[in-house]
Each structure stands twice: as structure tokens, then as C-alpha cells.
Symmetry: C2
Subunit: 408 residues, 2 copies
């Protein structure tokens, strides 16, 4: 064994064999051929080629240009494939076969790893919802009366979900300050981020049949970081009475790497105590599996960390969101994506949006290159995260990054 | 020529060669083979087989299990294919070839004719929005301040768009009367309809590039009737602050037939006078093409007509909706579907929802089988429509129908 092997990882590498997130990549010498890849350290294993080399029956799921066939294969297949890949990258006898199939991460192009079916965005952080309520409805209750009874959500635009690294064009639209007589049109002057976690559905469900809380793991394959870019000025003018539309629909960025839920067993945690009794379909107090995930998110603008939102503080869990989303009989499709909602903790430095961090522009952030209230053209926003893994090792989540380019 | 030919239509048949809507069908002897069909009278022409028989270059677009390839082919192709099919069903020399390829409508199964990408629903009838505002916000202004400045819309669930004829399971969910201390869970007791027109996008657009008003016809292929089923009790409790979600996402029914815009040239009409100056991207006062469509809709419950909503009264046009939907740079995909919003005219008998027709249940409708406020299990709702065509002939729109079945 060579000491130079890409499979010789530093101790505690957050992308070690305990993690193994999935993505889709292509290489410069064959840019049209997209392939499923598995991240190991700073390399990408060509998973389909590995399966072929080893005569694995999973080649049919992995030698594909998208994760969709694997997502659709269901939980037993997810577990079996993960077990197989773990062996491919850890059993010494496979090294000579695997090493030629490992591509340095910085030498590949990463693509949107699955075809997004429906995209739903929730609003599950009590701290975030409270902050937003105080900013936008200062004379009313911060939380609407329904907030503690159901996980509020709405559908977003799946056609503009883009992979990390995609530039985001500053959106134009209507905005109207309360004192103005009529709206004006122009590039958004309050372009913001929302630090979220996105859950990816693998197994579909039948129309008319709700998915119970306990069936979360049968349907959801994994998660990734998600940045729900938001134009606050467009949103404020348009959103009553039917909700956000153009203030959100111009772009939503997701990480190129989907972390399977199985890699996050050690990160399971109990959600905050509920202070309202929940209807049975949402009551997770008797569930075997803890509903929360202890993910530590970090948000940086131009490399400077501005917030560290703790996902463990989310009031509503992903399992509750799935149960709610389907309780009316709405079906799930492979590739459905749902965002947690902005992750904000109780502390100022834990807020997942500039709206909250600057209190709608009142309190500018000091960055090395100057003050920031909302995003300026050229700004690069990068979110990273980790979770506790087995034996004290961290599980790294793939980053989600995007640069703001001027309005066309 | 036989007098029994399915191509010998009665004079004024609303599905004559001036119409030619597209759908997707299969036959009982080969149920797995979905094919593009064109409706002519009470028959369906197997369009791909016709193209093959006649050696047409359009076989590649028509011998397909979905309309998506035709939708993606663009406006010139739409025009050329329509011209070709018109000749196939009208030139006497083709009769012998075409007659074996015509299937009686009642002998085929009709399918969802295209893969729905994103689904957006608008709120474009001033009469509807005013009625809803009066019902839900009796103490405020009926129209929100933004209503006359932009076509309000939101994203819906594309995965639960179903073809006419699909049963609709009554959704369950949370509802809370204002006087109740906490929400209760159960089957919706205010299940409603919304009579709408759905526009189907063919040609995609690039992210970051808005689609101008005048480019409507380059992107939108056609339209069909759409029933946006709505659970008013679920909606009322959930929709503040992020808009409708489970009150709508359980099912949206569309007609099996997509009428190409070209068939509706004679139905073009001017929209109502605007009483606010519009921002340039929405100002259609100088457009060459009239933005409205004179579609006469009829809504029946169990065969009894309850409303005749006039689409010509819609305040916002489909071209304005498309321009608005993309002005922030959001891209279009082939198969995007957007609903007009409920069509309601100024008269009581022209209202496109039971919410309005019964004033939220206050004034029951008298049907032959009894009073109705909202829908009961077993009710069948059917929407039909026609438009003025060339030379005084009507253009029929394919019906959209659905039956309510009890909650699971």
C-alpha cells in the first residue's frame, strides 16, 4: 500500500468512511458524462465504475447520471449499497482496484445530484419565526396563532434549485416602502440568505395515503445544506395574502453532496420541549427515533464567518414536516426536496439570515471589506456544517456556496 | 367516401378541424402504450401512427408517450405540426389512411398529457379576489394594496396535478374555528372547487433572463381547463403568513386536452380597463396582440350547472402572469403549468367557487339532490368551456371532471 493513497485519510477526517455522501460529477476529459460519485476525503470515487470493476449488483443503481435511481430503490437498497461502498474504500484488498477510480475533488465538476420534483420550504425555527414576526409585524404577536400547532410551509420553485457554485443573478422586481405612493421596479436592494437544511425524498408515496411520523426513514434518503436566497424587499410587497413568490423563486442553492441519514445516527437528538399538545399525527413524544439532528452550521460571507446556526434548536422536526406535508393525502415523488426553514438559534450570532443579523438593515455587520446590511454584487456566501459522528469523529456536510452577480 | 366516416362531423362541431387539441391516450388492447392523440369530433387520431403512415417528419415529435417533446420543439414546430395534422384530417385523399387510426373517444383511456414541471397558481380575477377578501377579511379592504400592481401568485404542488376523471380523495387536516381554543383534525368539511384556466409552457427560458410580455406566444403552447380543488377550512387556518399549502396540495385536476393557442386566435380579446398605471414590464397597452381570451366556462355539480364564469373578465392576462413570473430571472421549463386563478365574473351566477357562490356556506345552493354549501362525498364536478372560433364556429375546450371519494 502506498502512503500516498487517497484512501489514507488523516485521523478524524470529516469525510472519512463513516460519512460517504453521494453526488454527481463529470471530469474535464469527458464533460458530458455525468456519474454518481461518493466523496471520500478530498477525492470522489466513481461509484458506477467501482461497482463494475468489482462485479457488484449495484452497478445498475450507481452507473447513472443522477442519484434518482438510487433514491427510488428504497431503504433496504440504500443500506446495502452503503455497506458495499464502505467495504470498497476500507478493505485493503480493494485498494488497487479503487485507487484509479478516485478523482481529486478539485479536478471534477459537481452537478445538481438529483432531479428535483417538488420543492417545499418550511419555517420551523421558533427563533427565526419570532425574529421575522417582530421585524415585519411589530404591532402584532411575533408568532401567528397556528405556528405551534403545525409546521408552516409552502411550495417553492423546483426549476431554479441549483447546485453549489452556481452564480446567483441579483433579481429585479417590484418593491414599495410603506411611505411610497406606488411600487418601483429595479434590482433588489435587500438580497439575503437563509441557512437551511434540505431533506431529499427517495421512496415515493401513494396519493391519498399519509406518511406517518415513524415512516420518515423509509422515505427520506438524506440531507444537505440549502441556501434559500431571498429578496426581502420584493417579498415584503408581494407576500400578502398568498405567500412568498418572486422574492424566493429566482434561485435556491443546494450542496452537491447528499449525506445519507444513516451517516447521521450519532447526530440524532431530541427536539426542544413542545409547549402545546400536538395532534396525534404530529405528536412525536412516543417515537422510538429522536426527531432532531445536531448539525452545527457555519455561514460565511467572503470567507468571514457571520453566524453559527445550531440545527438542534429547530422546533419542528423533518419527520413532523413530512407527516404534515402528506397528511392531506398529497403524494411524494422521488426527488422531492424540502427545506427546514431558516435555522436560527437563541443567540444573535446564531441567526441564519441577514434580515435577522442586521435587524432588517438597522445594524450593519462589520466585514473586513466593509459594512454589510444585505448582500452586495460579488459577495460569496458559503455555508458549511458538521455533525457528531461515531466515536467522536465529525461528519462533514458538503458546503453550499454561491456568488452574487449583478442584475442583467 | 363513406357517410359513416368519423371525419364527417356535424356542422359547427366544436371539436372540428379548426380546434385539434392534443392529448395522450392508450387503448384497452395495449394499455401500457401511451400515445399522442389529437381530438377530432368524438374520435382520437393516433397522431404518431398517422405521421408514420404518411411519412411525415413529425413522427419524432408525435410518436411519443407524452406531449413534452412537441412542447419543447418550439413555436415554429407547433405551427407546422398543426398545419400538417389539419391536412391529414381534411384532405379527402388522406381519409382512407386516417380512418383506421381514429379511435372512438369512449373507447380510449386519457392520461395526464405532459409531465408537469413547476405549477404556479395566480389570483387574477378582480371579482374573485374581492369576494374572497370580503369573506375572509371583512374588516379590511377587500383587495390587498398590491393587487392592482402585480398579478399575485404562488407555487403549488406539481406532483398532485391529475388528469380529468381521476377521483379526488377528501383531504384531512387541521382546522380551527375562531372561537375554538385549539385546532381539531379530520376530513375537510369545506371542500371546494376553483374554476380556472391552466397555461402550459413549451419553450424553456434561461435563468436570469426575464420573458417579455410580447414573447408569450413563443413560450406558451396552449391552455386547458383546470380545477384547483381547495379545502377552505384547512386553508383558512394554515395560510397566514406563507400562503396556501395543504388546503390546495392534495389535488389539482386538468383536462386531458390541451388546446393550442393557435386555435384561439378568434377568441382574443382586450382585458378590462386598468385603473392603475402599470410598471413597464406589465404594461400591455401597446402590445399588438390582445391579452385576454373570451372563454365561456360552465361549472356543473352532478350534471347541474351552478355557474358560468366568463374568462374575458380576468383583470390580469396570461402574458402578464408569464412576464411577472420570470421578471426576477426565474427560468421556465417545458411542462411548467400556471393557473389563471379562479374565474369569477361580476354576477352571482358567474362565480367560480362554492366559497363565493354560497358566501362561505351561508347561502346553500339548491341542487336536484338537495342543498349544497360545499362538496359532499360522491359529488362529481365537471367544467366545460367554449370560445368563439373562426367563422362563428365554437372552439370546444376539453372538460375537466372529478369525483369526491371519502377520506381514507
Amino acid at each position: 500500500m502506498s502512503e500516498q493513497s487517497p484512501l489514507d485519510l488523516a485521523e478524524g477526517d470529516p469525510f472519512g468512511p463513516h460519512n460517504l455522501p453521494y453526488g454527481v460529477f463529470s471530469t474535464a476529459d469527458d464533460p458530458g458524462r455525468r456519474r454518481v460519485g461518493v466523496r471520500i476525503g478530498d477525492h470522489v470515487l466513481d461509484a458506477g465504475a467501482a461497482a463494475h470493476t468489482l462485479g457488484s449488483p449495484y452497478a445498475a443503481l450507481l452507473a447513472r447520471p443522477s442519484l434518482n435511481p438510487l433514491l427510488a430503490a428504497g431503504r433496504t437498497a440504500w443500506r446495502d449499497v452503503r455497506r458495499a461502498i464502505t467495504a470498497w474504500v476500507t478493505v485493503p484488498g480493494h485498494r488497487a482496484d479503487m485507487e484509479p477510480l478516485l478523482h481529486p475533488l478539485d479536478a471534477v465538476t459537481l452537478h445538481l445530484p438529483y432531479e428535483v420534483a417538488d420543492y417545499v420550504d418550511f419555517y420551523a425555527s421558533e427563533h427565526h419565526a419570532t425574529n421575522v414576526g417582530r421585524i415585519f409585524r411589530p404591532d402584532g404577536d411575533a408568532l401567528t396563532p397556528n405556528w405551534k400547532h403545525l409546521p408552516i410551509g409552502y411550495h417553492g420553485r423546483s426549476g431554479t434549485v441549483v447546485v453549489s457554485g452556481t452564480d446567483v443573478v441579483r433579481p429585479s422586481g417590484q418593491r414599495k416602502a410603506p411611505a411610497d405612493a406606488a411600487p418601483v421596479f429595479g434590482p433588489s436592494v435587500k438580497l439575503d440568505i437563509e441557512a437551511e437544511v434540505g431533506f431529499v425524498v427517495g421512496t415515493p408515496s401513494r396519493m391519498g395515503t399519509p406518511v406517518a411520523l415513524g415512516d420518515f426513514g423509509d422515505h427520506v434518503f438524506g440531507l444537505s445544506l440549502l441556501n434559500d436566497w431571498s429578496a426581502r424587499d420584493i417579498q415584503a410587497w408581494e407576500y400578502v395574502p398568498l405567500g412568498p413568490f418572486l422574492g424566493k423563486s429566482f434561485a435556491t442553492s443546494v450542496s452537491a453532496w447528499v449525506t445519507p441519514l444513516e451517516a447521521l445516527d450519532a447526530a440524532r437528538t431530541d427536539p426542544p420541549a413542545r409547549d402545546r399538545e400536538l395532534l396525534p399525527y404530529l405528536d412525536d413524544s412516543a417515537e422510538d427515533e429522536k426527531g432532531g439532528f445536531d448539525l452545527r452550521i457555519s455561514v460565511a460571507v467572503n470567507g468571514h464567518v457571520i453566524a453559527e446556526p445550531p440545527f438542534a434548536t429547530m422546533y419542528w422536526t423533518a419527520a413532523q414536516q413530512l407527516a404534515h406535508m402528506t397528511v392531506n393525502g398529497a403524494s411524494l415523488r422521488t426527488g422531492d426536496l424540502y427545506g427546514s426553514g431558516t435555522v436560527s438559534g437563541p443567540e444573535v450570532g446564531q441567526r441564519g439570515s441577514l434580515l435577522e443579523l442586521t435587524w432588517n438593515g438597522r445594524d450593519a455587520l462589520e466585514l473586513p471589506e466593509g459594512k454589510r446590511t444585505f448582500l452586495e454584487d460579488g459577495d460569496v456566501v458559503t455555508m458549511t456544517a458538521w455533525a457528531p459522528g461515531p466515536d467522536g469523529v465529525r461528519v462533514g456536510l458538503g458546503e453550499v456556496s454561491g456568488r452574487i452577480v449583478p442584475s442583467a
